[in-house]
């Protein structure tokens, strides 16, 4: 269960970074007007209740949900897929629920980045990929690391999302804490679970920070 919880956090961080970082790149390349729009789009979901966002994913992932209807209509799947109560469905939902947490620190760092560095890289003949890997990524690493830490911490403890989308079949530490404390009133076990969660989140966050430091030294 501990492994499952940490794995869920890791998968969510990976998925969020994969689609979140390009969003930040688009933000970096946009004019001031569009930057404001993008910022607004990022912050709006952050401020709408987690319960609302979780509810949205029930509508999207359900048997007659948006994804299944699209797949059936396109002929990509013969029958509705089971998405609710699966790990990948949950990771998909958490990606949206947690993405603003990744993007805010990232956009903060990116908006302070000197644009002439990227221009210089391009003028010296580097391709866009090379500029991304050698200039933009190393410079934005502190923001990316901070964002990943927040996403990890938040996704491993997102009780409502885990419970409503994951269902009873996927059991993570927060569910155990809730069951033991408020359903069967076994407070000692609930405390152990809570401490375990605290320690796993602490270790996970520390690990992400360590990877960040390592790769920064490597990049320079």
């Amino acid at each position: 269960m501990i492994v499952d919880t940490v794995k869920l956090g890791g998968l969510t961080v990976a998925a969020t970074a994969l689609v979140g970082y390009p969003v930040a790149l688009v933000y970096l390349g946009a004019g001031p007007r569009w930057q404001r729009v993008i910022l607004f789009v990022v912050i709006l979901p952050l401020l709408t209740s987690v319960v609302v966002r979780t509810f949205a994913w029930i509508v999207i992932l359900g048997r007659e949900g948006v994804i299944n209807q699209a797949l059936l209509w396109l002929g990509l799947a013969p029958a509705p897929l089971r998405l609710l109560q699966t790990e990948h469905g949950l990771v998909m939902a958490l990606t949206q629920i947690e993405m603003p947490l990744l993007l805010l620190p990232l956009l903060s760092v990116m908006s302070r980045m000197d644009p002439s560095l990227r221009d210089a890289s391009a003028a010296l003949g580097a391709s866009k990929w090379r500029t991304l890997v050698r200039v933009t990524l190393p410079l934005s690493l502190p923001g990316l690391v901070a964002g990943c830490m927040l996403v990890f911490a938040s996704s491993t403890t997102a009780f409502i999302s885990q419970f409503v989308i994951g269902g009873n079949r996927l059991v993570y530490l927060p569910l155990l804490i809730w069951q033991q404390s408020l359903v069967v009133y076994n407070w000692p076990l609930a405390s152990v679970a809570a401490l375990t969660l605290l320690v796993s989140v602490g270790l996970g966050v520390t690990a992400i920070a360590a990877v960040g430091r390592r790769s920064r030294a490597y990049a320079v």
């Binding site: 994969l18 689609v19 970082y21 390009p22 969003v23 790149l25 688009v26 404001r36 910022l39 789009v41 990022v42 912050i43 709006l44 979901p45 401020l47 709408t48 209740s49 987690v50 319960v51 609302v52 966002r53 979780t54 509810f55 949205a56 029930i58 509508v59 999207i60 359900g62 007659e64 949900g65 948006v66 209807q69 990606t95 949206q96 993405m99 805010l104 903060s108 908006s111 391709s127 866009k128 990929w129 830490m149 927040l150 911490a153 491993t156 403890t157 009780f159 409502i160 409503v164 804490i177 809730w178 404390s181 408020l182 407070w187 609930a190 809570a194 969660l197 605290l198 989140v201 966050v205």
Partner: protein
Amino acid sequence: MRAKDLSYSIVIGLLAGLGFLILIGPVVIVLLTSFTQGRSIRFPPSGLSLQWYQLLFDSVRSSQIHRAALNSLEVAVVAMVGATVLATLASVALARRSGTWVRALDTFFMSPLILPMLAFGLAALMYFTFMGFRPSLALIAIGHVVVVAPLALRTTSASMSQLDPALLESSASLGASWLYTFRRVTLPVIAPGIAAGAFLAFVGSLDNVPISLFLAGPRSDMLPIRMWGMMESMLDVRVAAVSGVLIATVLVLMLVMERVVGLTRRLRD
């Protein structure tokens, strides 16, 4: 354009497009679903109507939801005031100081952002129970203050760090007392930061699940907890209507705060 650059534009463009779709799609879907004519939650909605909003605002048939919403509002206002006062005091104390203690305190104040709130919720429940308190809105508000104060502290101390110390010195050298300087110089300068922080604290408390989950009792039902209950039954389309109201409220508040204090930029920096 070189082939490599083209592949960059395509890959990054597609991923970013997916990112934007994932970010904003669910909000739009919830809004559209809430106007459905049908009796079940599905998208696209079968015909448009306002029936679920009508049912939601029916004071008899939705009285439990109204009670929970009022409780949540009440707690959110108290938590907002508490968190804002604490954050302002903390940021004044911590501003322009350095040293091990200041850094440690800053980390301590910010820790609720990264530590599992669920663990704190459980701890608060046990603590209050051992102290002999019964579940009440006041306890929930106290719990909320702890977890939303860091949100308020972030924007407040950010604007505090932009306050020019020369202003404070000249005020003091002109004979103003500490309190007078705070009231006439510090406060007006950091007011936008405080306002943005208060807004975040309010929204954070309104949405809070992990603390309310443990501290809410049968007489102190909170809106997110009630919505969770309605979602578990899967039949109640009123969840969509409540979500619609919440989204609209946040959207309006956000636009107002953007106008007044430049909210989004403060959140980014």
